[in-house]
Symmetry: C2
Subunit: 348 residues, 2 copies
């Protein structure tokens, strides 16, 4: 490699512009660019080769400019690559904490190679006897989301009744398993019989149902939770939330992780049953995993142990090739993915 | 008085039957009954003379049968007297904790005299150098609601920005004063210029506005809270809640005490901005004062002290005569009352 670094071609997926309603594949544009595989002199940056990219529902929020209530994270920049969590290999480093050959996970670009100018935000990967892609899911942001959201926000107790929506997704499948490990009774909802089967037979949920086959969600929840729900891990919002409110128990807790059913609507559905918050003294609390990154070491240690003991399993839905990333991302909103949606850019 | 007790006439207000939508005065029926002023042999009950009755928004909930999600308290019994908090004087007691002449507050009937069969639920009044009617408001259920709701549910800190809706009501006027005593910046909303004037000039709110004169509640809140809201004490619900959600600060708290704007609707309005719970990591928590009755002694002691020092004031809206109780109760839902709505049945 020359002093300036080899200039190589770099396929990218650029964000076209702000979206209202449902994003389309054409909102993400393919580009053949080039990049020098060398950190420019004086920059505390790293150049990485992207291996696995993560498709996560929160990314939809970055496609819209929220003038009325700015979000916790800036929107994508039109004309620049889509940004998201991923697993990457450091090729060159101007930062003392990283060196060529390091494996990392964190926010990177949807492209073959990225220059990451603030590598302090990256996590170094030291345990490589698990699939590396797990650091986009089970051992990455979604895993910590499930861990912190369940343990810290839900205040769960052994024997409680736990309901998880979008339960076979990147986060939901783990919430259910953490809840079982704590000794809770856990039911999940998902959008196909295949996913329901996974919940019951792979992830060990006590029960599960296909919400698309339930014309009356309130009746469904009454059937699965005749005693009511102590803890609801909310991933979907909309009519499911309204039905859950009617079925919560006194002093129940709702951890609001996501509202995926609402992200592509021009105006979110109205929630009508908030009076239940009073009658049942419910605590409903939104959270962001970024507030819990300091839990990562303890989360990683205990979860690796669980994986080794076979007490936690994980299902990924993998597509090959950066060019398939846009459709993989959009598939989250129709429930096309079965398990954590991963895009393979390169196998090291 | 004879051994069976004197039989006297007893004017009553009976509950006619379950209500949907807005209750009318005719849903509450006047009756001339009789009562013996003596506890029947063997009953651990008390017979009381009702002095002051309390009109409270939660009473609307007892006029409806909630088949779908039973409430925390049974509906009224058609054909029986309306029940509510009140101040009363014990005339005869079969219970060891009470004797004739005791003053009490607690749940009693909308009638001149009541036989209370579970007097353990009553609080004995020992401090009588304040207006007795205060035990329906400032020193009764609404006062403890404000105290526990603000201090225990809102987790307030000095210097925080606090918003109170229905701020001149029985609870709101106290929340604002407790918040000021803690060193918060407090703004209240109410439904008339007279109430706004009370908030600013009597209760010491930093600012106040008439929500009926604000076509855009979001814009109004941005004006009064350019830095955003840390704590919202929720009394009204509906479009105010949606606007508040847009204006909350990160890690804000919403204590849901009541949703009075919704109680007479056949279907509550939808709340559309719950996604803000996530982006701002908001905790929204419903509560009932009944969970905090064990705080009553400490609340009473500190609040009596504040009253004596002139640090807390209280405004009541008093109507004379049991016959005016139904219209006084209904007035809560149109905002007719200015301050705590009290009905005087008898001045001792």
């Amino acid at each position: 490699m020359s002093k300036e670094g080899e200039e190589v071609s770099n396929k990218q997926i650029l964000f076209r512009g702000y979206v209202t309603g449902s994003p389309k594949e054409s909102d993400m544009v393919h580009k053949n660019s080039t990049i020098r595989l060398k950190v420019p002199e004086g920059l505390k940056a790293v150049v990485v080769k992207n291996l696995y990219l993560s498709c996560d529902p929160y990314m939809r929020g970055r496609m819209t400019k929220h003038d009325d209530a700015p979000s916790y994270i800036d929107p994508f920049t039109p004309g620049s690559p889509i940004l998201g969590f991923g697993v990457a290999k450091v090729l060159d480093s101007g930062h003392p904490n990283f060196k060529a050959g390091d494996l990392v996970w964190g926010i990177t670009g949807w492209e073959e190679f990225s220059l990451i100018s603030a590598p302090e935000t990256l996590f170094k990967i030291t345990d490589t006897d698990v699939p590396l892609s797990y650091y986009t899911g089970l051992l990455g942001m979604p895993g910590l989301t499930a861990y912190a959201g369940f343990n810290e926000v839900c205040s769960p107790k052994k024997g409680e009744y736990v309901f998880v929506s979008a339960a076979s997704g990147a986060v939901g499948q783990l919430v259910g398993q953490f809840a079982k490990l704590m000794g809770c009774y856990v039911v999940g909802s998902a959008g196909s019989s295949q996913k329901v089967d996974l919940l019951k037979n792979k992830f060990g949920f006590d029960d599960a149902f296909n919400y698309k086959e339930e014309p009356d969600l309130n009746a469904a929840l009454k059937r699965y939770f005749p005693q009511g729900i102590d803890v609801y891990f909310e991933n979907v919002g909309g009519s499911m939330l309204d039905a859950v409110l009617l079925n919560m128990r006194v002093h129940g807790r709702i951890a609001v992780c996501g509202l995926i059913s609402q992200y592509n609507l021009k105006r979110p559905q109205g929630i009508h049953n908030l009076f239940c918050l009073i009658t049942k003294r419910i605590r409903m609390e939104g959270f962001l995993v970024t507030d819990y990154f300091h839990f990562y070491p303890q989360f990683l240690q205990s979860t690796l142990q669980y994986i080794k003991e076979g007490k936690i399993v994980y299902v990924e839905d993998t597509v090959e090739g950066l060019t398939n990333a846009p459709s993989a991302l959009l598939g989250l909103f129709t429930g096309r993915n079965v398990g954590k949606q991963v895009v393979v850019v390169a196998h090291e």
